[in-house]
Amino acid sequence: MTFSWIASYWSLLLAGAAQTVLLLVISVVFGFILAIGLAFAQVSGGPVTQYLARGYCTFLRGTPLLIQLWLFYYGVGSLLPMIPGLRQSLFWPILREGFFFAAVSFTLNYAAYEAEVLRGALLAVPKGELEAGRAFGMRPFTLIRRIWLPRAIRIALPTIGSEIVMQLKATPLAFTVTVMDLYAVASKVRQDTLLVYEPLIVVTVFYLILTAIIARAFRLLEAQVPSRR
């Protein structure tokens, strides 16, 4: 076991770790917002929106993330230059990057799983609490914002924590679309130094620490809201 390479790859490893964390934060934050919409579409939407939201979740949960990522990066990516004017536009430098494609497909994928979790939680909110809100004259949107959604998130909190860890464990896939995340740095180290296990061990330790931090953060978050058991 030799770890002397860390000295010369220090800044690269740090940049890779930042990319990994950034991917995680982007996909969790935007995915969660999208998931709220998808969950409400399934729970209280009309037949058409219900059908569309269900189909979205089934498709994204039924196919591997790797395929979705490649469908988006290679497939949609190869179609994008055909849109006239896009190449000259402001967005092109972003649209050219693998990071953009990874962030979007991780977000869409996370939203599908999270929507399922939230759907269950929305249905688990006691009916009486919603009726109480309505009896106070709350409009549907106020009811959602003040009672339905906060209660559902509280119910789903432990599951959300483990979903975020699952999403974290999916991030190394981004290296297949040229994102220089931590795993990509590790495979670069492998190519340069022919060390197989040491870079993987470093990456693994990073992921274990991050998992522990997320688990701890959620334990603290859960303790914030008093609950009757």
């Binding site: 089934t58 498709f59 949960r61 039924g62 196919t63 591997p64 993330l65 790797l66 395929i67 979705q68 490649w70 469908l71 290679y74 497939g75 949609v76 990516g77 190869s78 179609l79 974290l168 464990k169 999916a170 991030t171 190394p172 896939l173 297949t176 795993y183 197989v196 296990y197 993987l200 990456v203 693994t204 992921y207 274990l208 998992t211």
Partner: protein, 241 residues
């Protein structure tokens, strides 16, 4: 290539120059890898669950390290790491026995690695399912003088299946999707076949969509199958209210 395929259906035709055949072969090997890994996982998981429940301290500790490590490390890193470690370890073992090094078939490595990963998850699913069996049923079997093997086959196994099946179904779904990761270490299953088809025709979108639909079909058919199996193993049980 004599004739260049033009329409979308020509591209997906099962006969060359269409790439449909390549995708279907890839799908078949995805199913074969998943099924093999699932079976190895069940064997490892059964052993692991019984080991954890046996009350043997060192064994329990070892199994805890196994299940915790596998479940905490990203699948891709596990697959890449185990792929190299497995090859390396086998060849070192052979060298130690004074045998020549061998190049192991990618299929075998893929099944072994994914099976090892599945085993950790299976251990937890099966352990929970065994714990959920009413103690009286096992005591009754012991009182009848059944040996451990007979008890496992006649009492524990039929009683744990209804408890374990939802978890097993989830694991099957996740192994069919995890098998796509084998493409990263270069074994040709559906995901890699799709990328090759896309790379050589430049019609990436249509091929990835087709293979996504193949995976989706596999998921939906498996769902139906698991529902039927669950109905079978739950026969005679009271329906939940």
């Amino acid at each position: 290539m004599a004739t260049e395929p033009r329409g979308i259906l020509d591209l997906l035709s099962p006969y060359p120059p269409g790439w449909g055949g390549t995708l279907l072969v890839g799908a078949a090997s995805t199913i074969a890898i998943s099924a093999g890994a699932f079976l190895i996982g069940i064997l490892l998981g059964t052993g692991g669950a019984l080991g954890k429940l046996s009350g043997n301290r060192p064994l329990g500790l070892l199994l805890n390290v196994y299940t915790t490590a596998i479940r905490a490390i990203p699948e891709l890193i596990l697959i890449v790491g185990l792929y190299y470690a497995g090859m390396d370890g086998l060849n070192r073992l052979l060298a130690g026995l004074n045998l020549p090094a061998i190049e192991v078939n990618g299929f075998v490595v893929a099944v072994a690695v994914l099976g090892f990963v599945q085993g950790a998850y299976m251990t937890e699913v099966l352990r929970g399912a065994i714990l959920a069996i009413p103690v009286g049923q096992i005591d009754a079997a012991k009182a009848f003088g059944m040996g451990p093997m007979l008890r496992f086959r006649r009492v524990i196994l039929p009683a744990l299946l209804p408890n374990a099946l939802p978890g097993l179904a989830n694991l099957w779904m996740s192994v069919t999707k995890d098998s796509a990761l084998v493409a990263v270490v270069g074994y040709q299953e559906l995901a890699l076949a799709t990328r090759l088809a896309g790379a050589s025709t430049k019609h990436y979108f249509i091929f990835f969509l087709a293979s996504a639909l193949l995976y989706l079909a596999l998921t939906l058919v498996s769902n139906i199958a698991f529902n039927l199996i669950e109905r079978h193993v739950r026969r005679g049980q009271p329906k939940p209210a």
